[in-house]
């Protein structure tokens, strides 16, 4: 028995749009099966993971909170993935953004610094993420070093840097030796959109990023250049598009957006620097980008879907004693299903039993 693949000559847009949905359903069935294997009820798990968060106003708000960094990072990654460049170090760029922006918050702590602090922190966050993202891009364009491995290795370096700062020089001296910085001043805190809600302006940034990206990709030469570089690198060269400039640009954009996500999270949700500031947003965002078909509006929906897995995972841990690792396993299998479904849309697959075929 074997598989036989043939490229499809025409791909229906309906199939293309339905592929992520089919992948999601498949991943859910697999996860349900695993939960059943663990001796738990898949129906109860589905209720806790999906239905309860969607029917509770507090959870709906939390959904936006968790979807925000995912969407920001994934939008950035979509630039890279469209150009067929593999930035898998967004988690590190996110952390670096938090470090750069957080530095200013700590510097101005306890002073009467005015309203300029927060905007400058956000700019520093973007800068930190972008510069950190440019390291693998520079190594690739200048020396031909594979960007996949370097960007991933830099994640560990960024996490260790934050760990050092939060436990060492930036630790709150009056914090009873807890490994965390002082709490940011109000001037260094990202405000909520509505009074007393947990949804802050980070969500607005994410929506702006979605709209701007939709325009850039659909209406500008740069967007066309990305598509061409990814789909037909030779044609892009003949057209005079520099692949090096494209590489640097997309890594700067994705690093900058990941950095913005990092500083927004630290100045908005967390309010201080601590050794761990992310439940793996930078890696989950890769799944978000592909589930959203690298389309800005698709990514917005996919970010909400994956935010649901984080929230559902947390309540399942409390209510059903299902470990949090289940969420990560689900995210992995979901990405695998999404990529397989994508490939199935472009290729016809036939199962050939022995003796069949040619």
């Amino acid at each position: 028995m074997r598989f036989e693949l043939t490229p499809r000559t025409s791909v229906s847009p309906v199939a293309r749009a339905l592929a992520p949905v089919a992948a999601f359903v498949t991943a859910f069935l697999i996860a349900g099966f695993v939960i059943w294997l663990m001796g738990r009820s898949p129906v109860a798990a589905f209720d806790v993971y999906v239905l309860q968060p969607l029917s509770d106003p507090w959870s709906l708000q939390e959904l936006l909170v968790k979807a925000t960094p995912l969407a920001l990072i994934a939008i950035g990654l979509s630039y890279c993935f469209r150009a067929n460049l593999w930035n898998i170090g967004a988690e590190g760029q996110y952390v670096m953004g938090a470090i750069f922006g957080g530095w200013l918050a700590l510097k101005t702590h306890g002073t009467d610094a005015g309203a300029w602090v927060l905007p400058l922190m956000l700019i520093l966050g973007i800068l930190g993420g972008a510069l950190y993202g440019l390291i693998p891009a520079f190594l690739k364009t200048r020396f031909g070093v594979n960007e996949i491995l370097t960007s991933l290795m830099l994640v560990y370096v960024a996490q260790l840097t934050l760990d050092y700062l939060a436990r060492g020089p930036w630790r709150d001296p009056k914090g009873f030796n807890f490994p965390q910085s002082v709490t940011f001043d109000p001037a260094a805190t990202l405000p909520s959109i509505v009074e007393a809600s947990r949804v802050n302006y980070g969500t607005v940034f994410a929506v702006i990023a979605v709209v701007v990206t939709a325009v850039v990709l659909g209406r500008t030469l740069f967007g066309y250049r990305l598509k061409l570089t990814g789909d037909a690198p030779r044609a892009a060269r003949f057209a005079g598009f520099s692949s090096k400039a494209t590489t640097m640009a997309v890594f700067a954009i994705s690093g900058g957006l990941a950095g913005l996500a990092g500083i927004s999270e630290v100045s908005g949700q967390i309010g201080q620097l601590q050794p761990s500031i992310s439940p793996g947003y930078g890696f989950t965002a890769i799944t978000v980008a592909f589930l959203g078909r690298l389309n800005p509006f698709g990514i917005m929906i996919a970010a909400l879907v994956l935010a649901l897995t984080f929230i559902g995972g947390e309540s399942a841990q409390i209510l059903l004693k299902l470990p949090l690792d289940l969420t990560q396993a689900f995210q992995g299998i979901l990405l695998l299903c999404v990529l397989s479904a994508d490939a199935m849309v472009s290729n016809r697959i036939r199962l050939v039993t022995r003796g069949g075929g040619k």
Partner: protein, 305 residues
Amino acid sequence: MTTFEAILLTIVTASTPLLIAALGELVTERSGVLNLGVEGMMIMGAACSFAAAVTFDSTLIGVLAGIVAGVAMAALFALAVLGFAANQVGSGLALTIFGLGLSGLIGAPFVGARRDPIAPLDIPVLSDLPIIGRLFFEQDLFVYGSIALTVLIALYLGRSRSGLTLRAIGENHGSAHGLGLPVLRVRFLAILFGGACAGLAGAYLSLVYTRFWAPGMTSGRGWIALALVVFAAWRPAWVLVGAYIFGAATVLQLHAQAAQFGVPAQALSAIPYLATIIALLLLSLRHGRAIGAPGSLGVPFVPDR
């Protein structure tokens, strides 16, 4: 035993899992498939082998379970990238995310359990030689096995007909298919072999190196193994050299932390990751573009007709 001897011995134990995992990935990549899931297959090997070894109180069953876990993960990857011609980079990454999550589920009941060390093979007389005696003649079976594996893979790829077929498929799958070579079957087996090696490397980590299970315990070793393959320019002998250099960097870093030079522990912990980047950079400086990479590496195979 002197400290120096002890350091040399720990370098061997730290290098062996890197070597085994990188050799497996080398074979997979030589067939033209890039599997970025090494970290995920390795940690599944570590979790399953430890769980099985504790449950059945047998190191042998543990090791076998680790290999089976690695192969099962690899089969999942093969289904996606060969069966459906899915993107290899993304699928490998998904496999790593999946493995890190699932291993946490499998290992959870075994957190806190410990295994006894396995007895090294003591080769009489020779192991009593000063300095080199214990280093060369009193290691565990895995260490000797990993070196034998290096030689076998080098011979297989360089000297056997089947190895030539595998390399031809990795170099240009279109031509290989035109010649009637079974592209997908060879790749399937190469991916499974890579999974078996990664699973075995994981088993070594949890059963020999640490002798306990901790979530995320591979801590990037799978990624370093991937970098080693590039660093070695896809040649087995150089994987051996590279694995030992990285093993040494890891161990010296641990000793430096214990000695407390006044350098932050985090800076020392970052050494293996920075070393990987620097190694890749130096290699590119010497050779220009990644030298020795198989021609069809990472390209999905969909035959024209």
